[in-house]
């Protein structure tokens, strides 16, 4: 496979994952804004922080309003992580790697782009927001579905998966880091209504409410939430799960190519952080510090993969 193709696959799937995550954050933000009576616009700052788009927003806007925040996250061209920008980039990458994709995947990707370009061609009315969010979920799910259903399980699939899970891990770590203070035992003041809202925000933002209830019951506690999102092995959006997938797919590549690189060591070391400690140890170490370490390692790993597999040179 061409290095360029590996690069294109990696980024195509990162952008798909990003678009989906951003839309989920918008949905969460909207839900909170609707269910809270006090200063709902403040919550959007926090939502944009978790999406990693708050700083750029401030460069383009004086004030934070719900309309502007939603617009920024869904369709701003100046925001490279808006849903529309991410989907355009995903499709651009898909064009570059067209020969590595099946017809089904390409059509799902192209159809996703066409549908969202159309739906996001103008500001989204509050009234239409749920339908637009559903469309984003549906269209990205189609890309993922055709990927699962039609791609050969070779290096093409591995690079697609590595891109997906690197983005996902990065995303979860960032959401947790923005909200980590509400999970700290020191603010453990069981269920003030504000805390409940914040916890729910976190779970909603990663589509984990149902899963959490199945595993931990209906009583939400910050320790259990942290355990669930950081260490749970069965939760497809936990850090542990994502990091394991990255490691596994790198291992498949090593098997396939008969060659190991530094990225394999980095991935193994990263994975070990999640097996070596339980959630209490992580709290003792400092959740924020732990998450910062993880974000740093993910970044380093991404760059190492680029080098090892000759994405650029």
């Amino acid at each position: 496979m061409l290095g360029k193709t590996a690069n294109g696959l990696f980024w195509m799937y990162r952008y798909i994952e990003r678009a989906e995550n951003i839309s989920r954050l918008v949905e969460t933000g909207q839900r909170i804004a609707l269910t809270r009576l006090d200063s709902p616009d403040d919550e959007w700052v926090s939502v944009m922080k978790t999406a990693g788009v708050a700083k750029a927003y401030k460069r383009h806007h004086e004030t934070v309003t719900k309309e502007a925040a939603i617009d920024w996250m869904l369709r701003a061209k100046e925001n490279p992580s808006s849903v529309l920008s991410a989907i355009s980039s995903a499709r651009q990458n898909a064009r570059v790697v067209r020969t590595a994709l099946t017809h089904d995947v390409w059509e799902a990707m192209n159809g996703c782009y066409m549908a969202l370009k159309d739906a996001l061609s103008r500001r989204v009315n509050e009234r239409d927001l749920p339908a637009v969010i559903d469309l984003i979920k549906e269209r990205t799910a189609l890309v993922r579905g055709t990927t699962q259903g039609t791609l050969l399980r070779n290096d093409i699939f591995n690079f697609a998966r590595i891109g997906t899970f690197l983005e996902r891990a990065d995303n979860i770590a960032r959401i947790l880091d923005v909200k980590y203070y509400v999970l700290l035992p020191s603010v453990y003041s069981v269920g003030s209504s504000i805390d409940n809202v914040q916890w729910e925000t976190i779970l909603r933002a990663v589509s984990a409410r149902g899963g959490y209830r199945m595993v931990h019951g209906s009583q939400a506690s910050p320790r259990d939430i942290a355990q669930f999102l950081v260490l749970d092995r069965k939760m497809p959006r936990s850090l542990e799960f994502s990091v394991t997938k990255i490691r596994d797919n790198l291992e498949y590549l090593a098997l396939d190519y008969g060659d190991r690189h530094r990225s394999h060591e980095l991935a193994e070391a990263l994975k070990q952080r999640f097996t070596a400690h339980d959630i209490d140890a992580i709290f003792d170490y400092g959740l924020h510090e732990f998450l910062q370490d993880v974000l740093g390692s993910l970044n380093e790993l991404g760059q190492q993969i680029e080098k090892d597999y000759r994405f650029y040179e």
């Binding site: 496979m1 061409l2 290095g3 360029k4 193709t5 590996a6 651009q92 064009r95 570059v96 067209r98 020969t99 390409w106 059509e107 192209n110 159809g111 066409m114 290096d155 590549l253 190519y257 060659d259 597999y309 000759r310 040179e313």
Partner: protein, 474 residues
Amino acid sequence: MNESQTFDEMWGREQVLRPPYERFHEWFEGEDIARLRAKQREAEEVFRLTGITFNVYGRAEAEERLIPFDIIPRIISGREWQKLSRGIEQRVQAINAFLYDIYHRQEIVKAGRIPQEMVSRNDAFLPQMIGVKPPGGVYTHIVGIDLVRTDDNEFYVLEDNARTPSGVSYMLENRETMLQMFPELFSRNRVQPVQTYPLDLRRSLAACAPADVDEKPTIAVLTPGIYNSAYFEHAFLADQMGVELVEGQDLRIVGGKVAMRTTEGYRPIDVLYRRVDDDFLDPLNFNPESALGIPGIMDVYRAGRITIANAPGTGIADDKAIYSYMPDIVEFYTGEKAILENVPTWRCSEPEALAYVLDNLHDLVVKEVHGSGGYGMLIGPTSTRKEIAAFRDKLKARPGNYIAQPTLSLSTVPIFTQKGLAPRHVDLRPFVLVSPAGIKITPGGLTRVALKKGSLVVNSSQGGGTKDTWVLED
């Protein structure tokens, strides 16, 4: 233009249904217009989703556009096709012999059949190719011969495309779309298949690999990148052949071979089907500004360690000034009279011809010698006085830059409009593969159709569309 002067491929000149269209017509009569309208829209949707688009240049944001597709097939009988394909094969053989000669002993010039300056002062002539023998002796691995029809038995070659003919992906996708939408039509008619083209192309390219390569040569398609107007086609062909689609930045010279950067290091390439122009192939040997090419690839080529398809320097054979010599070229190298006729052509570089052209601009089509895509040409009969006057000045300033031809009464084929069938002018580009194993012509080719009533310009960049082209098994 009076429509009755035009030959219609379905109805002839006298409104009598021609045999190749009999079964189609029978089917069409039983069809509901509303259903066909829905089918036409469905076809567009299929094309949009598949991404069969071309990029339009000259806009800030490269825009992707669909080439309009018309659902009415163009139908050619097997007998008609046989004659055409004999003529095409002869012409393509002559073109290859001509290229070899031009870059070696130049016998045709010595014999006085072509003036020396037509070669030596031609921009498309590449001195770097003098004395180079391409692997397998093939120059034009892929050729597109543009044909027009004026009557039952009258075909003319409008131009030869010996550099990088495009459009074959439309030929294939058009057929694919028709098969999906109107399977019943294919049950009623025995249509010769075109779907083997990608496999044929792969085999043909493999057969042209350098001599020291084992039986499974590594092939790649070289594209200028996703912003190129024909990127879709480049990706399509690489995908269909199951080979890598590379750009200049993926390639470098490693150990005397052209090699591509893979996730496992550099891997040598034996045959490069390039879709970039000569000028951009090698910044060391040609255009030093080019970011698209591979520095040093020409040296590898001259050492016989890679096949470049088509060979550099083939443009000399499809130059519009050389075109007028094609009947001589065919005769010189094959010893036979050309089966396919040329359109009579005045070379404006010759004073007598220029005088005639200037006197008859309103009847003629005048083209730039190096132009393509329907740009920079004058169609006398449909131009205003002002346009003709402006063109006259350009022509006088640089006569050598132009050729002129009579306005041919191009045949028409019906297209599907809101009101039903309506005749529109068409041309035809059959695709030809050349290798030491032989010449292979895909039955049919790409039919381009001028969608505007009366228009003679079929180029997609000027609002033309395409049709599926059927060659019937007689």
